[in-house]
Amino acid sequence: MPQPVCINRKQATAIGGGQRPRQVRAPVSGEGPIVAEDVDQLRRCVEDVERLTSVCIGRDARDPTYIAEAFLEILVEMLDLDFVGIRFNDTPHVFRRVGSALAPADALQTVLASIDPWLQSEHPQPTRLVVAGVPFAAMALPLGGLASLGLLIAISGRPTFPEAAELLKLRTAAAQASLAMREVREISNRRPPADMRIEKPVGQALAKSEWNLNLIINTIPAMAWSATADGILDFCNQHFLDFVGLSAQELMGLGFHRIFHPDDTEHLLSEWQDIMGSKRPREVEGRIRSASGTYRWFTLRQNPLLDPEGNVLKWYGVVLDIEDRKSAEDALKAARAALLAGEQNLRLIVDSLPVLAWVSREDGSAEFVNQRWAEYAGVEAEALLNWGDFNFYHPDDVERMQRVWGEATRSRDRASLKGRIRRYDGQYRWFFFSCQKITDAHGKVRWVGANVDIEDLQRAEDALRASEQRLKLIIDTIPAMAWSATPDGEVDFWNRNLLDYCGLSFDDIAGEGFYRIFHPDDLELMRESWERVRITRRGEEIDGRILRADGQYRWFNLRQNPLLDAHGEVVKWYGALIEIEDRKRTEEELRQSQSELARVARVTTLGELAVSIAHEVNQPLMAIVTNAGTCLRWLDEAQFDLAQARQAAERVIRDGHRAGDIIASIRALACKAPTRAEPMDVRSAIRDVLLVLNGELRRRAVDARVDGDQREPLIILGDRTQLQQVLLNLIMNGVEAMSENGPVPKRLTVRSSAQGNGYAHVCVEDTGSGLEPEQADRIFEAFYSTKPAGMGMGLSICRSIIEAHGGTIEVSASRHARGSAFSFTVPMDGRP
């Protein structure tokens, strides 16, 4: 034990302001006059006392440590002390503030060692102590009247310490501090915890138990603590200290506030107040700073120890590191949020899909249907679950659907079928069901499906199929061949019929290859026609010969039409080929017979008429000459035979008569009067003649046409056959006149009209070589011809016929740039 410090009582009772000289020179002793300095000193003293009495204000003041620290802080500054400390009765620790004189560690140690025994005394009296040869005055003031709380210790090296004022201030401080602390103690209502053990350890066992407890508490992998009922931390286990890297002292009392994250502090403290108020265990979470300065999430869990009346005796708690859990939780939360959002989105999508979407169990009973399904059926979605959907399938379909479903689902992962579903308005519509099996992570099987409304499609398809069927039937049945081509004329399709007929493959005819099927003589015509059709975008008909697979050419009628879009552009060309071989052959035969007829008719009437006449006349002449020669021979002396000579002479006479008859009959033929003057349509006669000559005209490339509207009949009186002979003559004359035309177009025009004078006028115009004026004068004379091979009979006979009809015939220059116009008149029927 150190020796009791010797305290100078006189000095100790002196009141003074430390080093402040005026305080030394003017002690407030109550004697002598009050000077200005004294007033000043007094005022300062009052201020200091006031300051000391107002220390313990505010929430933090509930902590005795804080109260002690606060007073020490003020006192060391206010009184310029070398050492000021507070020692509580239940702890050997001295809360202190040390001035510079005693700051060195060995000096402080000396002080602490010196005052310890002193303080052990019941009522430590002011004393003196020497540290490193320097004398210090020390005094202890009780906290509370009986020092039941502890002592306030003040040490100063000033010789005047303590002056009266100083003493006053120290006493005030001690009183205030003890008041505050008493108050705090009152509030915390601290009571020793009840030992719940039945056999309470004593002696050695107690010590061992304490030791074990200590061991457990300090080694459990959790941060444990305890606090007073008013929330003053009074214990932390080692683990706690290690984590925060602070000393127990730093953490005790209210020191633990500093370990919280600044953002959490307020929340955690207010929670802590609530917990204390409620006296119920609760968990709070917050971030705590580790020794390394990083923050980690913790859950703070505390339990109150209650006395039988339900008052809190003490709080016990653990701080659990939940950083990992927290971050996992955060991640989970984020994932959940995303999932939720995704789910909502998905749900929205599923409900908005224009299909009836559903999920079923393995057996097919519905587990989910989307909103649209419910809306379609016009019921709540629940009504469709668990086979409810079957009420909406068409009764005729259910069995088949179930069968298909059964077959599909037994063997495959997906299924599709068709069926009708009843709509809210009772109408059944066709749907296409399509579903897929999914097996989730737990091996549970579900079917996910969508039913698509195919009613319109189905209808269109049915219609299409029907029309396709019809079309196919038509295409298969009609003996025609069809093709199509791109807008620029490339063939891109031939029907089977056509390919088979030509014995070609599509590759053979692709592009322009199809031209090979045409007869070489038609090829140019075909090219031109196709060219023209493509340019004008208007189909036309053309006949041509096409090579059959067996090498034979047959006649076809080719037609084509464009498919145009809204802008009139060609989308596609379609065409058909129709075999017209038989028709063509008949036509050709007809034309040939007509042509033959025309030739015969012409021959009889024109040049060869003369040859015929010559032959007819020649025969009797031949006979006459020969008979005459024979007659002379029989009259010859050498073989005179009068009977034979007479016979020969008789034959001469007979043949001479015969020759005369022939001549007469020719005259009669040429000048024969109309035998039947009947009403007839001259225009139909013209048409007939042109028809007969059609082939001839075409062969000679003559463009023959009837001028003006010739449909109205033009009725005349005449012999149809003879007038047609005239027309035939005039037309053929015109045609022959154009035979040397070269590049000049061969155009023949026939006009017929009613003249005002009761005569019909018919005119045949050509663009041929025309006539010289003197030729025109003589052209109707018999045996006058402008043609090298002509006999000059045709126009002569024409004139005979027309004149016999009471008409006239004449020739003039054509109204065309060249050529001539032959015209005649014949009386009309019913003329005046």
Partner: protein, 214 residues
Amino acid sequence: MSASADKELPTVYVIDDDASVREALRGLFESVRLLTETYASVQDFLASAPSNRPCCIVLDIRLPGQSGLEFQEMLAKQSDARPIVLISGHVDVQMAVRAMKAGAVDVLTKPVREQDLLEAVNRAIANDQRHRSERRARQSLLSRYATLSEREKQVMALVAAGKLNKQIAADVELTEATVKLHRGQVMRKMGAESVAQLVRLADMLRDAGGGALP
């Protein structure tokens, strides 16, 4: 020349569609003692006219059915050498050339001068008679040659080539005596009185193309 050939009377066949012409021509040919047969068409002629006597066909170019020219060309194609005289109402140069090329004796224009016609017919008949006798001679030669044995034909060819008996014997590997024997046979069978005549006969044979003279 065989005398029997001349004994056959020549006949004129008239084909014309005009009855009065046929009658007039018959009258004319009979006035010069020619046998005359008349036909109205080529078909009638082919159906009934004999072909084994010297004749002349008088034909009108203009005939119903097969024309005169076509008929003439048909006969020429069949190597029928019967002579034809054509008459026609109107004969142009082209037609005449075509007829003559096909072997017509003459082409006459109606009305025909009777003297011209008779001359043409007589000339045609004479030609026909000559052709017929030549054909007969050639046929007799061929039939005689056909009676020769192969060896005799061989010997005949060598004799005709001017070889001596000795040479011939060496060529055919026979004795000269045997060659002489064959040679005599050949001369007899062919009716040749001298080697010169045999050589001429051999030439004729070659021209006729009937005997394959080695």
